[in-house]
Amino acid sequence: MTSLTDPHKPAFRLSQLIYDTRYRSMTIQVVAMILLLTAFGWLINNTVENLGALGKDFDFSFLGSRAGYDINQMLIEYDNSMTHGRAALVGILNTLLVAFLGCITATIIGVFVGVLRLSKNWIVSRLMAVYVEGFRNVPLLLWIILIYAVMSESMPRPNDFRGEDPSASMILGDSVAITNRGIYIPRIGFSNSLSGNEAVAPIEGATPLATGAIDWILVFGALALSVIAVRYVRKKATITQEATGVRPTTWYWQIAILVIPVLIVSLFLGLTFSSPYLKGFNFTEGTHLRNSLIALWIALSLYTGAFIAEIVRSGILSVSKGQSEAAFALGLRPSWTMNLVILPQALRVIIPPLISQFLNLTKNSSLAIAVGYMDVRATLGGITINQTGRELEGMLLLGLFYLALSLLISSLMNVYNNSKKLKER
């Protein structure tokens, strides 16, 4: 039975490449590699041939040449004598603006609706169900066009605000005018501006949404520092609580730290609100939010909000009832039960799909094309391509921008998700 000799070692045979599992995976990968490289080579070869036939080359220098077209909404300075690259940047900022605004409002709507849909109140939960199903089952494009049509067809004309007995009036203490050309809100300006941009008059037909980048950076910098300080105060309160068992009352400190520095910086810069007023045929002063921005923003928020509501609802339902019963049995107050027991567990379920909804919203903002909002698809992927005839380069850059944005958002959120994840064993 026992044999001391080594087992017979067969020589390597070629058929082992196919039938032996140790080698087969290598074979498959080599074959796949060859096929893949052939396919890539074929595509690149075709592209080179086609470009050659059209007399085109592959060159990104068009980004440095003069754009020659106007953009009707911009966050940074731009006019048509600037480059295509600058125009693309303006478009990128517009995309980011509507995506950012949309993410915030969609989250707020989603959380409210998701919670209300679980309400025991019959009519409220039904109403929310109608909202969610209505928005989830109808294309976003239709909502965008519909809201745009409501804005531009059903809202009063600027002319209606005129006269002794106007048929339309401004709201919020004569500071906001909702017209069929868009919404006019007070413009925030700085009279002691550090960048000296205050003198720049609004360009005809264009909307500079913000002027004086340095001032804004200062204000937001102060806010960021305040937030850090508030966190520090909270941490100290927690340390005291752990040492003595009593949590010191700090909420007025927190509010003071949050508000006072921003207020001081704003007063130093000379914060002014200039309300819009009628002049000629239209409103002047104030910031003009175009219908395209408003329609896109509202539609994206309502549409994504419906999806987020479902996510929030399923997240809350996923926390088993025993958890809240246990918390009540421990004598925690309802608000503490929510904050310390239910929410942390629900968030773990909510966050990953929420991230992908944010990504979807950002990508869906490219539907701006339906209402003529000048996002990056309209500038870089639209007018620039049409003017320079560089489809390949333009679309490549456009795709890379969206890809980079998606990867950035998802990796940031993954970091957050990992920090909140259930630590197992």
Binding site: Q29, E49, N121, W122, V124, N137, P139, R377, M395, G399
Partner: protein, 438 residues
Amino acid sequence: MSDTHAQTVSYVRDTMLPQAEPPLRDKGAVKWMRENLFSSWLNAILTVLSLFVVYWIVSHLYPWFANSVWRAGSLTECREIRDATVGSDAPSACFAVIADRWQQLLFGFYPKEYYWRPVLALVVFLVSLWPVLFDNAPRKMLFFTLAAPFIMFALLWGGPIWGPLFVALGFVLGYFAYELVNKSAGPLAATLAAIILPLLYWFYLVGPLAGLFSSVAPIGFEYVDSKDFGGFTLSVVIGVAGIVLSLPLGILLALGRSSDLFLINKVSVGFIEIIRGVPLIVWLFTASLLLNYFLPPGTNFDLMLRVIIMVTLFSAAYIAEVVRGGLAALPKGQYEAADALGLDYWKAMRLIILPQALKISIPGIVNTFIGLFKDTTLVVFIGLLDPIGLTNAIRASTDWNGVYWELFVFIGLMFFIFCFSMGRYSLYLEKKLQREHR
């Protein structure tokens, strides 16, 4: 004891009282309202607020619907009828535009005399779905399901029936090649034969054969060009083609992404992330502007086909992620059990892993399909006439210049019906496949 007691107490009830009615606040509608609408202050406020919202919406929309005009030739005629019946400042919907143009909204510019063809194709599609969606259908029906795509193609586009017929024969050829070679040379060679033979046949034989038969026996329907497709026909054709093609591709990609083979894994990850990272609209523009760059010089094929390819790749990436979630959610023991039984990779996947993983991912897959169907509206931006594109075309005519809401309501309602029923089916399927936690 009892005697004394009887004397101290003046009256003792010795009969049961009849059951009393519950108090008014604890029965019927009042009780229901107290429990469901006014259980607390917050709820009462919410109820009043919601009632106000409902009232506001209904009071604005009801007159519009109630005064609607269904028979008129143009918007101005609509307005005249409204002025004559309810007065000039009353809101009134002009649904006459739907009555006038519903054919266009459903079929686009498909020739009028052939409207029965898309309708018949839809019927074929629904019948072919029956054995797939519900298990009370006879199993033999599955053969009809397999033939359905070719029948639908022949019905929708027309042309000689030999083209779709010979293409379909390629699959039959592949099947027989597999069966024959499997007996003599084993499964690997059989698989290769089943892939290579039909490919050769499609590339070199189908064209001449179909051409020959068409010239000898030109049987078939009148050819309809892709550019005549429009409206919901277009949406449904693109949507259904995308759904049918993207499911197998998505499953393959998901298997690739969870594969141990380094290269295959990385290629799948790259493909999925690139497709998912870029909006569909950019891919559609790529299809319409750039696809010609990547193909051999001189190739030029149908825009609709390009769109279908792009939509398929796009939703395949999303389905891959959903299915990957299902694969990851399976306990490891299932994989190990499959290995322990000595099943090879494909058998293990086919018999053990995928049925369970797909069951878990049904809601996600159906959601992706709903998303795909809604996304078919984006083709309007590359010049195809989907329902939303047709609203512009309808508004462009002098008769209906200025009609917005009626068209949007109609289109929204159609999409809602399609998508909502898909969602309900997914719920039904989830319940039916639920085997545990009864």
